[in-house]
């Protein structure tokens, strides 16, 4: 039963990643693309992480996965911020 839920969660996560990737390719400008990417990263990764934790019984491994999730969240939000800020500055410089 738990395995089934876990696999379901992983597939949901993969779906978010897929839609994020499509968004990255199809959306018109940098800011909307960043938006798509952030959604995929945060929600998709969370679903996959929870799914893997359910499959993996060990507490230590679960803590490591949690740490990885936190690190990726921090890194992706900061890098999105930096990219967006740089793009905004360039637009202002162009004006």
């Amino acid at each position: 039963m738990i395995d089934l839920v876990a696999i379901l969660l992983i597939f949901v996560g993969l779906f978010f990643f897929l839609s994020g990737s499509i968004g990255l390719l199809r959306l018109p400008d940098l800011f909307t693309r960043l938006h798509a990417l952030a959604k995929a990263d945060n929600v998709g990764l969370a679903c996959v992480a929870v799914g893997v934790v359910l499959l993996e019984a060990s507490l230590l491994a679960s803590l490591k996965i949690l740490l990885i999730w936190l690190l990726i969240m921090a890194a992706s939000s900061v890098s999105s911020h930096l990219i967006a800020r740089d793009a905004l500055r360039r637009e202002q410089a162009d004006d």
Partner: protein, 324 residues
Amino acid sequence: MIDLLWLMVDALLVTLLLILGWITCASTDIKRGITLFTAFGLLLALIWARLRAPDLALAEAVIGAGISGALLLRAINDHKPLGSSTPQRSAWMTWSINLMALALFCVMSWSMWLTLDQVDSTRLSQLVLSQLDDSGVSNPVTAVLLNFRAYDTLLELAVVLTAVLAILALSPMRSAFQPAGVLLTGMLRWLVPVLIVSAGYLLWVGAHAPGGAFQAGAMLAAAMILLHQGGYHSGSGLNLMLLRVLLVIGIALFVGIGLVMMLLNQSFLDYSPGWAGLLILVIETAATVSIAAALTLAFVGGRPDGWEPVTDSSNPSNSAEFNS
């Protein structure tokens, strides 16, 4: 059924890898090429994990994709004017290169296909696993790297040092970035300690699980590079003598311990089984530090101020070089 599923996954990974490799090589826009190269490195790390080579997966993610990508991105500005003005190969040349590559691929694949199912596929692994108990560590890759083929690793550290010596000789270091925004510096404040702890963990765990000096050293260097990116200037306050020692201590301890062991045990790098574990840990720790220093200097791209001993002012052209 499961086998077939795995084969499909493998085929998918291989196809992706070949496509990424091809467009990385073919891309004319260098920024695009570097981005693709980083993605290529991460995909490769995934494939290493799939092929049961977790040590490599770690190394590839940190070094192959991470540090290499950072080095290349930092180099873009150096090469901007070399842009599209250089001539392309003639059509005749292009076709002969294509033909040669195709022929090479066919011949190599054919001979590999003939061989793989005819040769005993365990090769040296039986020998390694049977001697593992005497090596002082239980991770077979670390045993090969730091004991059975330790000499390769020693020379590899010499290669790293040589590259850094060349970089130090060539030019002064790049100027640091401007201090970054609050968000980045805030993140660095807690991310860098986490990275340092992770590097220590990788170093320690390398004795019996995936990890080791190279992965740890590269991760430590990544922490330093992040600090540099964040605008933390380290050039002025740095003790240069300490930096010299950090740079050479990996090889120095490696050779030193090896020579002492030679005087005791008759052959170079011959660790007595009882001591091997401890000696390997000492050597790996020193190597981690040296690799981190080397990779950081490689990213910074040159010598810090005052690296070369200041001589009398008889040669103004060189003292001017310090300031430029």
